[in-house]
């Protein structure tokens, strides 16, 4: 009973924060990603008991996926289902890539699934991944790297970044958008 209440309130709180974040509220969005990180870490850790080194990589890959695909969340659908589908997709995708490399048999059968469980546990310990987003960032072409560095690492607004770089505001926005997608693709290439 209390678990169900906890689950419902987590779902409602996170959903609200994501919707606010989609409207451009960075504070709410930061809260959403932070809370989500803990749930994702617990989710992956439970499924990758044999591969603990992969957990944080997957957390970061899934976070980037959630961010890049946040426009595909329908406000009418349960957030748990949406996040769970992304987390599972990224988990399966990574296990397939591993299996392809190591010629293992398909390990997917070992992955137990329970949608509701995703928001019922959390693991808030901050951790470092083996993949280094900073290094991957350096591989991006300038028109994508510069906008990300200016707006996302230095914290400039789009207008300020446009001014500082001589790029147009739309070039900054497109650069950030495409750059984060390219980053997600690079992470896949690394593993």
């Amino acid at each position: 009973m209390t678990e169900q209440v906890h689950f419902d309130s987590t779902e409602a709180r996170l959903r609200h924060a994501l919707l606010q974040g989609r409207d451009g509220d960075a504070v709410a969005y930061h809260g959403f990603l932070n809370a989500l990180t803990a749930h994702l870490r617990a989710y992956f850790r439970r499924r990758l008991i044999a591969l603990p080194d992969e957990v944080e990589d997957l957390v970061q890959e899934a976070l980037l996926a959630v961010h890049n695909q946040r426009h595909t969340y329908d406000a009418g659908q349960p957030l748990t289902a949406w996040v769970h589908a992304i987390a599972k997709y990224k988990l399966v995708d990574r296990l397939r890539r591993r299996a392809g490399k190591e010629r293992l048999t398909d390990p997917l059968d070992a992955v137990l699934e329970n949608t509701a469980e995703l928001f019922s546990t959390a693991d808030g310990e901050a951790a470092e991944a083996r993949i280094d987003v900073h290094k991957l960032l350096a591989q991006l072409p300038e028109r994508q790297r510069v906008p990300i560095v200016r707006t996302k690492l230095e914290g400039l607004s789009v207008a300020q970044a446009a001014m500082a770089t001589g790029m147009s505001e739309s070039a900054i926005k497109v650069g950030v958008h495409r750059g984060l997608k390219a980053l997600a693709a690079l992470i896949k290439g690394e593993t």
């Binding site: 990603l33 748990t80 949406w82 997709y89």
Partner: protein, 213 residues
């Protein structure tokens, strides 16, 4: 990079996302695909010469409704499959309904017809070219719908590819209706369906390769 830093990076200066991206992307893709299919039909095949008379026949509209019903249901399926964790719910039933309806009609038509007329109702005059031409007209839509899905987040790749192919096939068939002289339900239930299923099969096979993200 620590995960906390990545979270800060993602949240900093976050821009509002566009409204209705799934519907918009699919609408753009269908528009472009239909223009492509229409141009292909006009250049390679041409309108049926008696189109003016054909539109007065109820069966012409039954045929359009059959194909449009498939297109509508496969669009719903493609849109739902473009969102992670979205259930298909009743959409598979909506997909099967137009096919069942045309089969019931076909059975009725065949039962009414004299035995010597039956092969003509099934094979018409164009059964050898019909499925291939529908699949050909589906190509521009196929490309456009796959482009639309690649910008979204399908997680069930074979199924998503098949839905995209089904949408392409049924829109290709919709355009083909303006050229094709066949109106018999047994013909439609066989060769039209076959033509529509070719891109669906191709889509299902290519989905895992083309839709990965």
């Amino acid at each position: 990079m620590k995960t906390d830093e990545l979270v800060v990076l993602l949240a900093t200066g976050v821009e509002p996302v566009e409204r209705h991206p799934v519907g918009r992307r699919h609408a753009v893709a269908m528009g472009l695909g239909l223009i492509g299919a229409g141009a292909l039909m006009l250049i390679l095949l041409g309108l049926r010469p008696d189109l003016g008379d054909a539109v007065r026949l109820p069966m012409f509209w039954v045929k359009l409704a059959f194909v449009a019903g498939l297109a509508w249901a496969s669009l719903l399926a493609a849109m739902r499959l473009s969102r992670p964790g979205m259930a298909l719910a009743w959409v598979p039933a909506a997909l099967v309904a137009p096919a069942l309806a045309i089969w019931v009609l076909a059975a009725f038509v065949l039962a009414q017809a004299a035995p010597v007329e039956r092969p003509g109702l099934i094979f018409g005059a164009t059964w050898t070219s019909c499925p291939g031409l529908i699949a050909l007209l589906a190509v521009p839509v196929f490309v456009a719908v796959f482009w639309a899905m690649r910008g979204l987040a399908p997680t069930q790749l074979p199924l998503s590819g098949a839905a995209a192919g089904l949408l392409a096939g049924s829109l290709g068939a919709l355009v083909y209706c303006l050229h094709c002289p066949e109106l018999a339900a047994p013909f439609l239930g066989t060769w039209y369906l076959l033509g529509i299923l070719i891109p669906a099969l191709v889509g299902g096979l290519l989905g895992p390769r083309l839709l990965r993200w």
